[in-house]
Every structure is written in C-alpha cells, then in structure tokens.
C-alpha cells in the first residue's frame, strides 16, 4: 500500500514538473528582459556549481544553448566590427558570426569554471530612450568586492536579447569593438579570425 502511494506521489510530482516545464516554455516567447537575464544567470550559476565535474567540454556543452538563446550574438558580432561589416563578403560575415558565437560560449565556459558561493542579485530595471532595457544586477562573491553587472537588452522579434554587458562600468561591446576594428584595419580579416580561433583554443586548454 505504502509503495503504491509512493508510486502515485512520484507520478503526481512528475506531472507537476512537466506542467511547470511546459508553462516555462510557453512563457519563453514573451519573457520580459528581466526574466531573460534571470534565467541566464540561474543557468550560469547551475553550470558553475557542477563546473569541476563537467570539465571545460561539459561546461561548453551546457552553456551553448543558454548563451545563444539569451544573447543576440549575430547583432553583437555586427556591431563589434562596425562599418567594416559592409566590406565583408557574405561568406566572411557568416564565418565571423560562427567564430564569434563559439568565442562567446568558450569565454563563459572558461571564466565561470567553479563555484564558491557566488550569487547574482537583481537591483533594478530601466527603459532606455530608444526602446532598450537595462537590467542592473551584481554578482556577490564571498570575501571579495561585488561585481556590478548591467545588461543592456533589445527586443528581437517577440523576445528580449542581451546586446551588451557592462561589468563594473566597463562595456564589453565598446571594448570588443575597439579591439576588432583595430585588428581589421591593421591586419585584416584573416588575422582577426585566426586570433579569435587562437583564443578559443587557449580557453579549451587552460
């Protein structure tokens, strides 16, 4: 009898979980900017918690979808090289986006490798004049100064996507933009791709 009850309870819990899962999926299309950031941060912390067991390859695998679904990486890649985008052939543009997506996931997999009690805290949310939303949050690190993380999001279709992350006042987009345009101007497209690939390679080894 007890066993049967247990079985029923397990089935019931399973059903509840399924329902919760589908409802999350249904909401995903109309998730607010804050929800997108929240979801991504939760996924990131979850990967950090299992970081050591997963190893680099495991973390990369686990973070691939969360990063790609929460960031508008195509747009970021485009903004990052500025006017140079127009000068590239379609094949080159596609190549750059591909490499950029891999670099973004790789840097997350490398930099958030283990967990020592870190947690993200939501501070506030504000709309910019141009239809964007900035989500202010900070990462609490035990025995260390908190790091401010400001996410700039823009609407892409029906969902919100991260366009820029400003960590302690340093804009990732502005930083990358300066780097990428400088390399493109000084050394050309092939050198840029080679350098990005080298970084991805280093991340996987370290």
């Amino acid at each position: 009898m007890a066993l049967k009850n247990m079985k029923l309870a397990v089935i019931f819990i399973f059903c509840v979980l399924m329902a919760a899962h589908t409802s999350v999926q249904a909401e995903e299309s109309s998730a607010t900017a804050k929800q997108v950031v929240d979801k991504f941060q939760t996924e990131l912390i979850a990967v950090m918690k299992n970081g050591k067991q997963l190893g680099y390859a495991g973390r990369y695998e686990k973070l691939n979808d969360p990063v790609s679904n929460s960031h508008d990486l195509t747009k970021i890649a485009r903004i990052v090289i500025g006017k140079e985008w127009e000068k590239l052939s379609e094949a080159q543009q596609q190549k750059l986006v591909d490499v950029f997506v891999r670099l973004s996931v790789a840097s997350y997999a490398h930099n958030f490798k283990d967990y020592s009690g870190e947690s993200f805290v939501f501070d506030s949310e504000e709309e910019t004049t141009r239809g964007g939303v900035v989500v202010h949050s900070h990462l609490l690190i035990p025995d260390d100064k908190p790091v401010k993380f400001d996410y700039m999001l823009k609407e892409k279709g029906t969902s919100w996507r991260i366009i820029n992350i400003i960590a302690n006042g340093v804009s990732d987009l502005a930083l990358k933009r300066s780097e990428y345009t400088t390399i493109l101007q000084r050394e050309g497209f092939d050198a840029l791709i080679a350098k990005i690939n080298e970084k991805i390679d280093n991340y996987s080894k370290l």
Partner: protein, 342 residues
C-alpha cells in the same frame, strides 16, 4: 644612521622618478608637436600618440615578463595567502588617508565621514590596517584619488599615455599620481617598505593581468579601453550610462543598412562626425564633463584646423580678387565690343 641613509636614498629615488616623469613629459611634448603634423589613423580619439604608447606598452610588457612577474611570482610562492592579504590591507589602509582627503576636495562630506571611520576602525581594531575589519561592519572601501578630484573640478582628461614602468595613465593622471604619492605615508619611509608595496601591487594585479592575457585579441587596445572606461566610471561614480554606447553603435549600423547610393556620401559624413566611444556620450549627457573629452591633443588639432581654414580663406580671397579682376577685364572687353558694334 641607517635611517638617514634611507632618507637620502629615498629622496634620491624620488628625484630619479620625478626626473623620469619630467623627461617623459618633455618627450611626449616633443611627440605632441610632431604628431600633429602627421596625424595617425587612430581608432580612439583619446589616443593620438598610439605609436609611442604601443612602443612603451611593449617595453613595459617585457620588463614585466623578465623582472616584475618573476619577483611577484616568487613573493606569491613564499608568502602565505593570509600574509599577502594582510600586506595588501596594510597598504590599502595607508591609501585611505588619501581617499579621505580627496573626499573632502570633491565635497563628498558624508563619504569622507564614512572613510574616516573606516580608517580609524582599521588602524586600531584592524591592527594597523592588516585586517580589514571595517568592510565586515559595512564600511566598504571607496576609491577616490586626486585624478578623480581633478576630473570633478573640470580638468580635461587629456590624451591616453603609457608611461615607462608606471603603465597606463592620462595627461590628467600625471599630476594626479604625483599628489597621491605625496599624500601616501609609505612614500616617506625607507626603500624596503616601498619595494614591498610595489611587489604587493604587482602580485595583487596578477588576476587582472592574467585575464587581459587570456581575453584580449589586442592586449594594447584591450588595456587602453578598459583603463579609460574604468577611470571614467570612477570619476563619475558609475553614473555614466555605457548603455548609450549601444544606441550610438546602432545608429551607425542602421545608417549602413539604409544606405542608398544617393545618401551614401551623407551617411559616411555623419559617421565620421560621430565617432564611437564614451567620451562623446559624456558630452551629450552632461555639460559639466564636456571638457573631459576636449583633450589637450584635440585642442592642438583644433589649432591645426583653424590654421588650415585660414589658409583656405586666403586662397578664397585670392580667387575672389582674381575673379574680380577677370570681371573687370570682361567688362572692359564687352564694353569695348559693345562700343565697336555700336
């Protein structure tokens, strides 16, 4: 006797350092005059001396690789973590004196009370600063220095500079660090203390330097951008909205999308008129920081453009004179013709 010797040596070193700074500024002054004549292709307007800075950056990098990093690694290997933290806290506590001074200079009186409390707690209960007790009771460290005070006072930031051995700075950063050094008690004690302070600074920067090494495609540009953004964020107490960057960048992107052949020239012009970067954003946002972006170099550039426009003006005047003469000739000619026809 030893003390006296140390003091002498110390002043000697200070002389050398100040000599170096003066030398560097003269050297850079020299650059300023030559660079204006030959403008470089620079991605960032705040960095007109990129060529010189890159050379200095490479030099510093080599010094770090062969001297500073091995020493710092040795220090980190020998010293237990709690000692490293203690030493770091000790020097950080001495810097808090300067933080209080600059709080007052920036008229942040409430913050100065907070920082005085922090200094008092750490110096007494924190065993002369070795333990950062204050942070645990909610008196977190604030970062203030004279460079930020100058920024608050409206002194323009000036060009980005990479100083020999000292690393990234700006024109405004030089008087800033001279003042900060003068306001730091550890500058007046013997060489061993200063040496430990230097090694400790390098050792605590290990993480950031490693991150730059791993993440940057172009370490020079990465360092420059993050340094300038970080200083800018400190000077404005995090009030600048880096998010507006995106809008500027997006404008450019959209301008590129909507380019029709007839509009192409126009959009290109507007692109050059609005260079990317946070310096410009500051202009738009608050008038008080308008000067920040008007670096010394841009002042010299504007002199350059003025002299060019003068030249153009004289050319135009010459043309005008010529055309007047021509008109006179034509008039006489036509008049003559007319008279002959008549």
């Amino acid at each position: 006797m030893f003390k006296l010797y140390c003091g002498n040596r110390n002043t000697h070193i200070q002389k050398i350092v100040s000599g170096m700074v003066i030398g560097a500024s003269i050297l850079l002054g020299g650059c300023a005059t030559t660079e204006v004549a030959k403008p470089q292709e620079t991605a960032n307007k705040a960095d007109p001396y990129e060529h010189f800075n890159r050379t200095m950056f490479t030099f510093n990098d080599h010094v770090d690789d062969y001297v500073a990093k091995p020493i710092s690694d040795g220090y980190r290997w020998i010293t237990p973590q709690f000692m490293q933290t203690g030493v770091y806290n000790f020097f950080s506590n001495l810097k808090d004196i300067n933080v209080v001074i600059n709080d007052v200079l920036q008229a942040k009186f409430e913050q100065s009370a907070h920082d005085t409390g922090r200094l008092a707690v750490n110096t007494t209960m924190g065993l002369a600063g070795f333990v950062d007790v204050a942070s645990r009771v909610g008196l977190e460290k604030n970062e203030e220095d004279f460079e930020q005070t100058l920024a608050v006072w409206g002194v323009p930031q000036g060009s980005y500079l990479v100083l020999p051995l000292l690393g990234p700075s700006t024109v405004r950063g030089i008087p800033g660090s001279v003042f900060d050094t003068a306001a730091n008690p550890s500058s007046y004690v013997g060489m061993p203390v200063q040496l430990i302070s230097m090694i400790n600074t390098r050792a605590s920067a290990e993480g950031s330097l490693k991150f730059i090494d791993e993440a940057s495609l172009d370490p020079y540009v990465f360092t420059r951008e993050s340094f300038l953004q970080w200083r800018n964020n400190l000077a404005t107490d995090g009030k600048t909205e880096a998010s507006l960057d995106v809008d500027n960048f997006e404008d450019e992107l959209l301008a590129g999308d909507k380019d029709t052949p007839s509009k192409k020239g126009l959009s290109a012009e507007s692109n050059t008129a609005t260079p990317p970067g946070f310096t410009l954003r500051l202009d738009e946002e608050s008038k008080e920081f308008k000067q920040t972006s008007n670096s010394f170099s841009s002042a010299s550039k504007s002199f350059d453009t003025t002299s060019k426009s003068f030249e153009e003006a004289t050319h135009k005047l010459d043309k005008l004179k010529k055309s007047k003469k021509l008109r006179k000739h034509r008039y006489h000619f036509s008049h003559g013709n007319y008279s002959t026809v008549k």
